[in-house]
Subunit: 140 residues, 2 copies
Amino acid sequence: MFATMNPKEILNSHNLKRTSCREGIIEVIMSSDKALSENEIRDRLFGNYDRTTFYRSFKTLVESSIVHKIVVDNNLVKYALDNQVTHKNEHAHFYCNECNSVVCLESVTIEKPALPEGFSSSEIDFVIKGTCKLCKEKAE
Amino acid sequence: MFATMNPKEILNSHNLKRTSCREGIIEVIMSSDKALSENEIRDRLFGNYDRTTFYRSFKTLVESSIVHKIVVDNNLVKYALDNQVTHKNEHAHFYCNECNSVVCLESVTIEKPALPEGFSSSEIDFVIKGTCKLCKEKAE
DNA sequence: AAAATATTTGCAACATTGTTGCATTTGATA
DNA sequence: TATCAAATGCAACAATGTTGCAAATATTTT
């Protein structure tokens, strides 16, 4: 879906105004193979935006399912594009304790587990923490 | 392991000083069938403790694996007893969107997924969000 | 192309949470 | 009971979450 679209088109297709902040955020996230934190995105962005604007932009983009939020810890949140072409509906995320990077593990799909009687699920958050390939190689 | 121990014994067995704050926190968590937030624990506690003390107490208890921290969202953290009798090493957690409660799903064990070549995992965070049994029944 | 409108932005302000240093108090131990 | 190491409370500050509102901007209508 998003694979061939640019930020403008993505915003249009969700009936969102094409503001430079939103376009910039999408652009930066698209160009990264890793999930990025709010600060990482700000640093890579051209314009300078108010914290509030950022806050609300993310809220909007998450609500529209353009990006998804990955909560690694209560004080570490990263964002990745919700690319419905490459991303399975439910996929796992990997957090590297060494380099603090987060990647979507497209290959690790999540099967809805059997819940106790009477429970129903709408969303699954799956974060695997450990050491990534690069950091392991460095350690050798 | 903890099932038959009281807070004092738990602290002793971990070589931690038995302070009233720590004992209280463990007591409150033990007496609840749900995971509790810092505020929920404070409200159920007798003594009045400084926020800093609370903060450091939780840190200590988590580091000693007496309680475990469940990060539902970046602004919703709950704590549960790390009862090694009933808790499998890796189990899933359930967050109810309606009543905001969190329970450990002992029955839902997590199988270590096959990671991409070169990755290794040390911890898995698995939070299932949805509607719990009670809230579903209420809705009918 | 300009005006009307609806939305977004930036600012100020404040709440909540995370965190540290340090003096005082407390728990464990000799 | 005295000693010592550790925990607590306080002050202070950083980071993040959140709202209201006036000014700026994007989109729609004329």
